[in-house]
Symmetry: C2
Subunit: 408 residues, 2 copies
């Protein structure tokens, strides 16, 4: 049950992009689990992939294909991650690209493959063969909503959104979708996010826009600290709108801002739909020497099982939060300068001042904030001016149930 997340409203089609989904039976019965996305020629693509050394086969193949040519198609399956599958996994992945390329009338290296699901199971090619004609026939500009649903695994809600950016040269559209609920602590990007715009953006600028936005979105969330083998985030620019976006155009800033917002929304949607989540928690660390230090402290707090079970219990157990701050790998942290706030909406409760309980703090005030489904833990280190924000979920019985039962 996702926290403050509802199924998407209408998703705006993006000129130059058509999508279809089918129930291929790769793992799931009676639901779509395979998506084909067709792109017009000259679409620019930027991507970031997982830094987990156990890269899944599709990550290896997608990175290789992307380095050879601009893509004409994306092929995305749910239910099987095709990870830890060795050479056979690479072969199966390449074969599925060939199948898609035949229908799209392009070279196999113009197809980017993506997989999500169970690790270590061989990827069967037959379901792809059987479904490919249906997928090719079903391609449509309005296919985003069905595609967003087809790429889900333990997700409970599809995650997708659109926006329009008006420029002096005309309007452009930006639509994106993402999936992921567990094995979420992206290190480059999360498993999986796809965004497309009908603006024309040169490849170098597209990659830098993506890299920048990833840092403030998918690389700032965590569910369980487990970086996936399949993380990938792709940003496509078809140019169909006839509007060019570069740092020299007046609408660069607006486009960058909207892209950042959309990616942050998608990243937060993953946390809201995290496995077993009952809380959506913002961990904000201020007063650090540099952003890396702030991030380190924020992630140490956000990964602590004791902190996360306290979130679940709505227990303002600030001792566990301080203990996590204290064990974060930060040299010469002066705990006597640390302050801790619990915040939700207009409520701002200072719990810790100068490293110890604030004499004015009342447990009831802290408990009231923690009882909310969404709140912020703000930690002020008192060392410098740098800050960082990480979004995370709680650790609930449902998290244990899902992960003890999944794959059995």
């Amino acid at each position: 049950m996702a926290v403050g997340l509802h199924p998407p409203g209408r998703l705006l089609p993006v000129g130059g992009v058509r999508l279809s989904a089918a129930a291929a039976g790769i793992r799931y019965e009676d639901r779509d689990d395979l998506v084909l996305m067709a792109l017009e020629p000259d679409t620019q693509a930027a991507a970031v992939f997982t830094r987990n050394r156990f890269r899944a086969a599709p990550v290896t193949v997608a990175a290789e294909h992307l380095s050879r040519a601009a893509p004409r198609g994306l092929l995305i399956n749910a239910g099987n991650a095709n990870a830890g599958t060795g050479l056979a996994g690479l072969e199966a992945c390449r074969r599925t690209c060939e199948l898609a390329a035949q229908r799209l009338g392009c070279a196999p290296y113009e197809v980017l493959p993506f997989s999500t699901g169970v690790i270590g199971e061989p990827l069967p090619v037959a379901p792809f063969e059987a479904a490919m004609d249906r997928l090719a026939a079903g391609l449509e500009a309005e296919g985003w909503a069905r595609a967003a649903r087809a790429i889900m695994t333990t997700d409970t809600t599809p995650k997708a959104a659109s926006c329009r950016i008006e420029t002096a040269d005309g309007g452009v559209t930006l639509t994106g979708m993402a999936k992921g609920a567990g094995m979420i602590r992206p290190d480059m990007a999360t498993m999986l996010a796809f965004l497309a715009t009908d603006a024309a953006v040169p490849a170098g600028e597209l990659q830098s826009l993506l890299g920048e936005a990833v840092g403030e979105s998918f690389n700032a969330i965590t569910v369980d600290g487990d970086t996936s083998t399949n993380d990938a985030c792709v940003l496509l620019a078809t140019g169909a709108a006839g509007v060019t976006i570069t740092p020299r155009t007046s609408h660069w800033r607006a486009f960058r801002r909207e892209l950042g917002r959309l990616m942050q929304w998608l990243a937060q949607a993953i946390v809201r739909d995290a496995e077993g989540a009952t809380k959506f928690v913002t961990v904000r660390v201020e007063g650090a020497v540099d952003p890396a230090q702030a991030r380190t402290v924020a992630y140490t707090v956000a990964h602590s099982p004791l902190v996360k079970t306290a979130f679940y219990a709505s227990d303002p157990n600030w001792g566990r939060i301080l203990a996590a701050v204290g064990r974060a790998p930060v040299e010469d942290l002066d705990v006597a300068r640390v302050a801790l706030w619990l915040e939700a909406g207009r409520e701002r409760v200072r719990v810790v001042r100068d490293g110890a309980l604030d004499p004015d703090y009342h447990e009831a005030a802290g408990a009231a904030v923690m009882a909310r489904p969404e709140f912020t833990v703000r930690i002020v280190l008192g060392r410098g001016a740098a800050s960082a924000t990480v979004w995370t979920s709680d650790l609930s019985h449902e998290y244990v149930r899902i992960n003890a039962e999944y794959r059995t």
Copy 2:
């Protein structure tokens, strides 16, 4: 319900050490929660304390007292950690040392204080005052068993053991006790362990013996990755047996070996009694470039919530283990060299070879190992000759229940 751990048998008294316990009502009703340990003059003491920057007041005071004089007494309470309590916590702690010193006829700085329990609650001094006469009157050499029970918090079983070491100069005794079930990822020592011998060991040698043994015991376990604010491990040598142990004596090696064994047993006992534990898992990493690298990989696997829930489910979900290995902060890991074994007793099942599923692996064999209450995950990196072992528990519904309900 501890995994393969039973209440201790008879604990051998240690000449020069007397203990007592009392129900002081610091937090718990109807159970002992305060321990006094009295030491004969000239007892040598070595200690290691938490490296969490949020050191509890008793850790600060104990380290300070230890630097001034050899201790004549230890005062240990359960139920309140006296951590995050600022100056008031330090004052309360010093006051309890004074109370104990009056009864022991020594200076307050000859008393070492230790606390375990809830973080951030003021430590009430009155229960100490009320109980101190009873404690002083009850001191006895046979007090270890009752003391081991009195220092428990979420522990379900007291953890203590004894051994005798015969030397050419006569026999010496070594008895130790520990507590801890959650907030366990010691970084120097765990919360809390006390060992005493009637051998005479010079202070420098005692500290080096302790430091060495801690590395292979308390610093090689993890329950939840959360380093406590109160971790402390103390080794006392009273000299009452009239046997001196130094590196120049023939029994140095035997003493060192037995000390190492006893500390490893106590450390493993903490994992066996970990909050909600249903499994006792050894994570062994071999073929690393150096021991630090092996430890890093072992801890990344042992801390992964996805791996720990798979342990709970008896699910040989090797993909999650490989994903954890792949995200460990190890430069240029060549995944194509990684092997993974599941082992229990004589069963040795190779699951992964050369970074992918072993063709000869059968799921039933892996599942049979994982169904055991105790098993080993052995990871071979294929990079060098260094290795490390970490002991850990699983992540169960009971873990979430305990930590969502504790303190509420």
